[in-house]
């Protein structure tokens, strides 16, 4: 009837020594108008209590805290995992990048680049505004942001996407270099042609 918010680990020999409440793991998901710099699983957010979270049943939230001191085993385990991937592959695609805590992403990508300095990072990033996007791109060192052509719901919107992401230099554009030459009167030949 309603989506379950928790994945409950089965009680067996391995898990029975833990407090039963610790066996209920919060599923990850997303909320509308999220602030990507805040963790909605922690106070003061009440997103889980209010059932605002649109949950994914196949993954759970991990408690990274403020740093490795809050969960040393997890940080070491995940860093080894990321570094192993960085040794094996040429690049990463970060899924749902806006929901990874920035300090976690920065630490693990820095570690990845130690073993693979040319690691190519692309990311699926929906922070909701360009300035926040740029903040994530510059802190994490993302090489490319994933853009989708089929997000253009009509021809005009698709043209807009093509211009924004697909046209590096547009026809007839005055380049800054040309204007600079013109300003110093170094060249008398026109730098731009309107076709």
């Amino acid at each position: 009837m309603v989506d379950t918010y928790f994945t409950r680990l089965p009680r067996n020999d391995v898990t029975s020594k833990f407090n039963p409440t610790a066996l209920a793991l919060a599923n990850n998901g997303w909320i509308w108008n999220a602030d990507p710099l805040r963790n909605f699983a922690l106070l003061p957010s009440k997103a889980y209590l209010r059932r605002e979270v649109i949950v994914w049943g196949d993954c759970v939230k991990l408690r990274y805290g403020a740093g490795p001191q809050d969960n040393p085993w997890l940080w070491e385990y995940m860093q080894n995992y990321v570094v192993g991937l960085a040794r094996t592959f040429d690049g990463f695609r970060i899924d749902n990048c806006h929901s990874t805590p920035l300090h976690v992403g920065v630490a693990f990508l820095d570690a990845a680049r130690v073993v693979n300095p040319n690691l190519y990072i692309c990311a699926e990033l929906f922070t909701g505004n360009e300035n926040m996007d740029i903040h994530f791109v510059s802190r994490l060192g993302i090489n490319s942001l994933i853009r989708e052509a089929y997000n253009g719901h009509d021809p005009k919107e698709f043209s807009r996407l093509l211009y924004r992401f697909g046209v590096d230099r547009s026809v007839g554009k005055i380049s800054k270099f040309c204007a600079y030459c013109e300003g110093l009167r170094l060249a008398q030949v026109p730098c731009m042609e309107i076709v």
């Binding site: 090489n143 490319s144 994933i146 021809p155 043209s159 046209v167 204007a179």
Partner: protein
């Protein structure tokens, strides 16, 4: 744009020096532009199956990194559930005429060839439901 400013002497003594200040404008993050991702509905549902090749062609000439999926090239008509799917891919050869993969390969090679020969400027023209992208040689 540019402005002429005066720099104070670096040591604190001596004449001011005239210089030209050209403000650096920011740039937007580099794009990895997909024609279709694993999250998008198939072209058959969104628009039409024929639309796939024209969309793929426009992306092939995009001045950015590009991406695609095997389902798009094979013109697979459904959005797959990646989490639950158990079937394996059917592997097609390069010369197979199924789907638009062969056409896209030619378009990608054409784009590469044009860029190496100096074509650098793009233009998107849109009229009613049709879009065209033109690459031109800069002078």
């Amino acid at each position: 744009m540019t402005s002429i400013e005066e720099l104070p002497p670096p040591t604190g003594k001596g004449p001011v020096r005239s210089c030209i200040i050209s403000p650096l404008r920011g740039s937007s993050p580099h794009a990895l532009f997909f024609d279709l991702t694993h999250d998008n509905e198939s072209p058959l549902h969104k628009r039409s199956a024929e639309d796939a090749l024209s969309t793929g062609a426009l992306i092939a000439f995009s001045g950015s990194a590009i991406g695609s999926t095997k389902g798009f090239d094979d013109l697979y008509p459904k959005l797959l559930d990646l989490v639950g799917e158990k079937r394996l891919y059917e592997v097609l050869g390069i010369d197979e005429t199924q789907g638009i993969g062969k056409a896209k390969r030619i378009l990608n090679h054409l784009h590469t060839q044009m860029v190496l020969e100096g074509y650098a400027e793009g233009y998107v023209h849109q009229e009613n439901d049709v879009r065209l992208m033109i690459l031109l040689l800069p002078r």
